[in-house]
Amino acid sequence: MSTHAASVSTAIPATPAPAASNANKALGVGVAGIVLTALGAAVSGNVSGVAVSWLVAIVFWTAISIGMAMLIMIHHLTDAGWSVALRRQFEHGISSFKWLLLLFVPLLLATWLGKGDIVWPWGNLNHVLHGTETVGEDALYWHKSPILNIHSFSVMSVLLFAFLIWVSARLRKASFTQDVDGDVKWTHMNHATSAQSIALTALVLTCIAFFWVMSLDYHWGSTIYGMWFFSDCIRGALSVGVLVQLWLYVRGDFKGILNKKHLHSIGMFVHAFTAFWAYIAVSQYLLIWSANIPEETFWYNLRELNHDGSTNQWWYVSQVLIVLHFLLPFLLLLSYKNKITPSRIGPIAALILGTVLLDLVFNIMPGLKDAHGDARPFLSINLLWILTSVVGVGGVCSWSYLKSFGSTKLIPIRDPRIAECLTHHE
């Protein structure tokens, strides 16, 4: 195997094709998106709408990065062989957590410096809930106030990011150092890191789902919400993984590395987590539907009906989600051909990535209410702010990815299982 690894290392250029100019382009696009979003907040007079749209983008890109970290850890814990080359791309992807923290800070600042309820209603005790009550008069708020207050929330958010930054730095360092010295101890170190951290990462992503997203309607509680968020994390990361692999293949980097079986393997993963998302989404809906308790059903009612009983736009979004986030990709991915043909798996991955965003929009945006306590409609100017935010945060994440991409070898050439990956075979 050592001879094989040696021949591989000579065949692959030390630094992949210039990534620096791409990285700068991505950063430029990202900054443009951020500036546009900031302009929107300043000019449109709709600060809450822009801020919650920004939250959508932060959650979207954080979800993808967490999904990549989880997939790396799953890779190490199962001692997988086929995904070694793909793992390197995920290792570049998880370099983004420190920037995501930086981009999350504006939301904290807005909460600290503004009235407190720009994003999360519980930040302001005088925030009027639907009806006449304010948050300060709400017994349920005081029950949850030990964690839902701006102090705990800020400390918690920074700690969550700190953990993710620490784990990703550890995983990256071990893998990148192995490129240089080829010592197998780095593989063992990653096994240990993954074993210690995977459950904690699950806890962290659950906290992110609970604190950032579920607390937008803090009356509502769903214990499976972390699992829902996990399924979107993994689906987002896998879709990006497919698209990055295809991009590198078309660009030429992955010629001779990526084969049909790699696409088949990741395609099966994408398929499995499509079913997993549906399983979690149905479980949550089914339990709330069966129990039929008003304090739980209101969350779905908000996404279906206005106060006068008319159907609102979110109901159509939910139906679109069932079709585009489950039914269509599930049926398409049943076929072997669709998984191994780049011109087919590419659009399917892009579709899933888009509907992950739509799913997050569906979960986050109805947190914005109008005077009647109805969810503000789906089709609104906020879609523009979601777009600029996603481009802004995404540009920064892509820049972080490309910067890391240019700094190491294309694939982990001295990983003990690299030969197994390159000869991955049916």
Partner: protein
């Protein structure tokens, strides 16, 4: 040797030998033939010109049948045959039927896969001429065999034998049916 011959059998000493011979037999247009190897040889299915297995099709139809049957059963029992009001819910709603539908769909697709494999492999097969050959023990250890059956339309004792010998086959003999 009896009148009926099952076909021709040839021995190969190496995996690459049987691999290249399989390519030759495939290119000669034979349909009813097989390779017998002591371990899976990577790429041999392609060298033999085999298509992907049809098992997934059985699995798909099993899954569709199972899911449809489960949903239909829940609809029939709940909304037609024995209407009961439970928890103030409608007689039939697809929501609570989802878990049973999924379970039945998965069960029947797995069952379809197993049944499909039995059908496609023609199990249970109680007798096969190759198992009577004295070479089969070697083929379970370190030798590789190619068997071309006499029922193949292209089969011609002299020509097929020449093909196998040219492809590197050793000890090409007729196999008793």
């Amino acid at each position: 040797m009896s009148e009926q011959s099952h076909g021709l059998i040839a021995t190969f000493n190496t995996a690459s030998g049987v691999y290249h011979a399989a390519q030759n037999v495939r290119d000669a247009g034979y349909k009813h033939w097989d390779c017998i190897t002591p371990f899976p040889v990577h790429g041999l299915d392609k060298a033999m010109g085999l298509k992907r297995s049809l098992v997934p099709v059985f699995s798909l139809f099993g899954g569709i049948a199972g899911a449809t049957a489960a949903m239909a059963m829940i609809f029939y029992t709940g909304a037609v045959d024995y209407k009961l009001i439970v928890g103030g819910k409608p007689f039939f709603s697809p929501i609570p039927a989802v878990p049973i539908t999924v379970e039945a769909g998965i069960f029947c697709s797995a069952f379809g896969a197993v049944v499909g494999m039995f059908i496609l492999c023609r199990f249970p097969m109680l007798y096969h001429p190759v198992l009577k050959s004295d070479r089969i023990n070697a083929a379970l250890d370190d030798k590789f065999l190619i068997v071309i059956e006499a029922r193949d339309p292209k089969f011609n004792l002299a020509q097929t034998k020449a093909l196998l010998e040219k492809a590197g086959g050793l000890d090409v003999k007729e196999l008793e049916a």
